[in-house]
Symmetry: C2
Subunit: 141 residues, 2 copies
DNA sequence: TATTGTTATACTCTATAACTATA
DNA sequence: TATAGTTATAGAGTATAACAATA
């Protein structure tokens, strides 16, 4: 060996690309709305799919229940969501975005779409298709 | 908006792919050699490019001096590198891998090459080329 | 004055175990 | 017994400021 360059090592390249691209969007949800990454992911799922229990968010977002629990508490403190008792299972609460939470969701999804479009602008349609396909498969290992 | 899926958001996809692919290789340097990610990166640069000062590693690896400082101390404690005074600048030490450090470097680079080959096996030559090119550009933003 | 490197501090992120209340 | 959710704790990652020694 000895002829490998770290810049040719896929996990390294992925980590660098993820770090670089995340930083830009991070400022949108962090600086503008005081949210952490997990909070934004939980807010996104509630905005996109409607009222859900924490368990459902865990399954769909592939997040551990402790992360969701803390993100939900933080979003509740910011008045971005409310809880109501789940009639089918009293261990769970159904979580729902407030009007304020929905407003932030819309602002963030719009910002995300703009951000992604700006990122992808530098690639051809073919490159974008292959990039997305490769990343999706690597993420699902 | 509202029609964006988080799985179509490039920074999210990159983060997922990076996390998934990193976990596998992490066990190699962590479990087998007790190293953290930054230590492996510093060790790699010393193994690949020979004796360097901390400053040079900072520049080449794009790592902050505090991270390099702590990684160097950890690698020194493991007897993977030694310091010697830089004749040109007494603020710096020249860092050099020990025989033990070189052995670990060779083992890890071989393992990295195998790991990468196994990852890329599922893609065509064209897909690999485009993936690498896209990631390199995204990492350099 | 500026740079190299170290130490201190804080915050984010990840992972796990232990606990509660319900099922 | 098992599951939904909470709390506590520790380790890892990131970022910044302050400092000592040297340039």
């Amino acid at each position: 060996m000895g002829d490998i360059d770290l810049r040719a090592f896929t996990p390294y390249l992925l980590a660098m690309a993820a770090e670089t691209t995340s930083l830009g969007f991070q400022s949108t949800y962090k600086a503008q709305h005081g949210m952490l990454r997990t909070e934004w992911r939980v807010l996104f799922h509630l905005g996109q799919y409607g009222p859900l229990t924490a368990k459902t968010i865990c399954d769909r977002a592939r997040l551990h229940k402790t992360k969701v629990s803390r993100a939900v508490a933080a979003l509740e403190a910011k008045r971005f969501l409310t809880r109501s008792e789940d009639p089918q299972d009293r261990r769970s609460d159904v979580l729902e975005l407030t009007a304020s939470g929905q407003k932030v969701f819309r602002a963030l999804t719009e910002e995300a779409a703009r951000f992604d479009a700006a990122l992808m602008e530098r690639f051809s349609a073919e490159e974008r298709r292959i990039l997305r396909q490769c990343l999706t498969r690597l993420a699902q290992l």
